[in-house]
Every structure is written in structure tokens, then in C-alpha cells.
């Protein structure tokens, strides 16, 4: 079973809660996905509106693990403060740590990420760092106190799917004991199956489900793909071969002349 900071998790699909057509569709998608972990954010409240009330009630009714993010933070200071504010509201020391370095690609600023991860780990947070597929940065994050890694496989919301299989295989191969969740860039269930076949522990989805024509149906399709990919990895996948190999026995073949 997947273990994240000591917590046993049955579902290998983590789901974001943004961009759904309606709260009702969000709830249906969450249920259809079978997820146990959903990501949330903190944003400015408007006076007199109680705008967070509906979403707060929704979160409480779902009774799932909440993984707050630091989305939109561009500096160590912003990300660390946001994490502390999230811990106060959501009563969890889990934090999806994002420190964005580039507006166009939403690529993490990995230098700031490592620093923020060290500060937050020392403050008792259980950090889920949104990072690139860079092997050395992954190593630095583990040294900084992270027990989980969350590399992208393509830019957030791009739906491009795994762009650099070599880098992903390297990270997986170097850290066989570390839970690694592919976060960002997945577009379709076959992408999720592909990364799970490589041996990754879970995927984190949002846009691919929320922006699908039918989010609950897509959530279920992803859940099946994640499960299939994981099962395939455990069953040990046949690697490609250069030559054809007959699948039907050659011995005993009739000879017609």
C-alpha cells in the first residue's frame, strides 16, 4: 500500500479541486475518482461575503485528506508564510510546496523550492514538493527533509503527457524507496498509465479531469488507468525487442508442400 509520511493511502490518484464547471460536478468527480487526497488553496477573502463558506463546508462533508498548496507563490518567504497560514486553517502539516519561477511555463524555481522545503521541514511540515524532473534537485529535496517527491512530467495544465521518459526513469531508478507522485502535465488516462507502468507511486491530476467534457467520467477513466498502470508495473512489463518473435510455437508446425 502507498505510504505518504506514514499515512496509508489506498488510491494512487490525487485530485485537484479547481476549474470544475460546478461544485456538484466537483463532488461527483471526486467520488468517481476514488481519491483519498484532494488539493486546495488559500486566497484573499472579501469582506462581508463569507466566500469561503461553501467550499469549506464541502471539504468538511467529504472527509478526505486535504493537501493545501502554495500555488502562485514566487518567493521562499511567500511560500513559507502561505504554508503556515494553511496549517492554521486546515489543521494539517501536509503542504504541496510550489514556488513558481517562470510565468509562461509555471516551472518551479528549484533553488527557492529547496530552501523553502528545508525551512518548512524544520518547522515540522510534511512537504510534498512540486519540482521538475531534474535528478539532482530531487536529491537536494530529499536532503532538505522531503520524504515524498512530486516531479512534473510536463508543464501544469498543458496536457502534453510525459515529455522526458529518460529523466523520469532516472528519478524512479535512483530513489526506489521514495514515494514519487507525478504532478502536472498529464492530459489523458494513457499518460497516467504510462507513468504508473514506469513504477511511479501515484499521480496528481486536476485540469485533465476538470476540463474534460464529462469530469466524473474522466475521473473514473483515470482511476482505471492508474490502477492498470500500477498493476502492470507490479507484473513486470516486457521491454521492446528489435526483432519479431513468433508467439505461436514453431515446433510441430505442419508442413504443406
Amino acid at each position: 500500500m502507498l505510504k505518504l509520511y506514514g499515512a496509508e493511502i489506498s488510491s494512487r490518484l490525487l485530485l485537484g479541486t479547481a476549474q470544475y464547471p460546478s461544485p456538484a460536478i466537483l463532488i461527483d468527480a471526486i467520488k468517481a475518482s476514488g481519491t483519498e487526497i484532494i488539493t486546495v488553496s488559500l486566497r484573499r477573502e472579501m469582506a462581508g461575503t463569507k466566500s469561503g463558506d461553501g467550499f469549506w463546508s464541502l471539504l468538511r462533508s467529504l472527509e478526505l485528506r486535504v493537501l493545501p498548496n502554495t500555488a502562485g507563490c514566487h518567493t521562499v518567504k511567500e511560500a513559507v508564510l502561505t504554508a503556515h497560514m494553511a496549517r492554521d486553517v486546515f489543521s494539517t502539516d501536509w503542504i504541496k510546496l510550489e514556488v513558481i519561477g517562470n510565468h509562461d511555463t509555471l516551472q518551479p524555481d528549484v533553488f527557492a523550492l529547496v530552501e523553502a522545503a528545508r525551512i518548512l521541514s524544520e518547522d515540522g511540515f510534511k512537504v510534498f514538493p512540486y519540482t521538475t524532473d531534474d535528478l539532482v534537485i530531487a536529491e537536494r529535496l530529499l536532503e532538505a527533509g522531503c520524504d515524498v517527491l512530486m516531479p512534473w512530467c510536463a508543464p501544469i495544465g498543458s496536457a502534453m503527457g510525459p515529455l522526458n521518459l529518460h529523466a523520469l526513469r532516472s528519478i524512479r531508478g535512483h530513489f526506489p524507496e521514495v514515494p514519487i507522485i507525478i504532478d502536472a502535465g498529464l492530459g489523458r488516462p494513457s499518460h497516467a498509465a504510462a507513468v504508473m507502468e514506469l513504477g511511479f507511486d501515484a499521480v496528481l491530476l486536476n485540469t485533465a479531469v476538470a476540463k474534460a467534457g464529462n469530469p466524473p467520467a474522466m475521473a473514473q477513466a483515470f482511476a482505471k488507468a492508474v490502477e492498470a498502470g500500477h498493476q502492470a508495473y507490479q507484473a513486470v512489463v516486457l521491454e521492446p525487442r528489435d526483432m519479431a518473435v513468433p508467439s505461436t510455437p514453431v515446433i510441430g508446425k505442419a508442413v504443406f508442400t
Binding site: V40, S41, L42, R44, A47, S51, F55, L81
Partner: protein, 65 residues
């Protein structure tokens, strides 16, 4: 006292963070607050005295990826 709350200028009579939330009608057990980029926990708001020029952020749970 002049304060900046979520980026907007306010002139208030409140002396503490808790009183400020009441005065500006920020309600809810789900709010997170920071003053001058430092966290002020929900249970510390009553005793947190404000001063002229403070910058306050009041955040609420929202959807996120």
C-alpha cells in the same frame, strides 16, 4: 487607524486583529490571517494589537490544483 487589508486601504477604530475582523465583517472559522507577513493564528487574534500602517492579509479556503 489606517491599515491595508488585502491590498485595500481602510480607516478603522479596531485595536486588535479580532476586532478588525468584526468591524470589517470578515466572518468564519476557516479564515487565515497574517500581519506584516507574519502568521497570526486564529487563537492569537484577540491579543494581537494593531498599529498604524499594518498590512493585513485575510485568506480563505479555495479550490486549488
Amino acid at each position: 487607524m489606517k491599515l491595508t487589508v488585502n491590498g485595500q486601504a481602510h480607516d478603522v477604530s479596531a485595536q486588535t486583529l479580532e476586532a478588525l475582523l468584526l468591524e470589517l465583517e470578515f466572518e468564519g472559522e476557516w479564515l487565515a490571517t497574517a500581519v506584516n507577513s507574519e502568521l497570526v493564528r486564529a487563537n492569537e487574534r484577540q491579543n494581537h494589537t494593531l498599529k498604524n500602517g499594518d498590512r493585513i492579509e485575510i485568506l480563505t479556503p479555495k479550490q486549488g490544483g
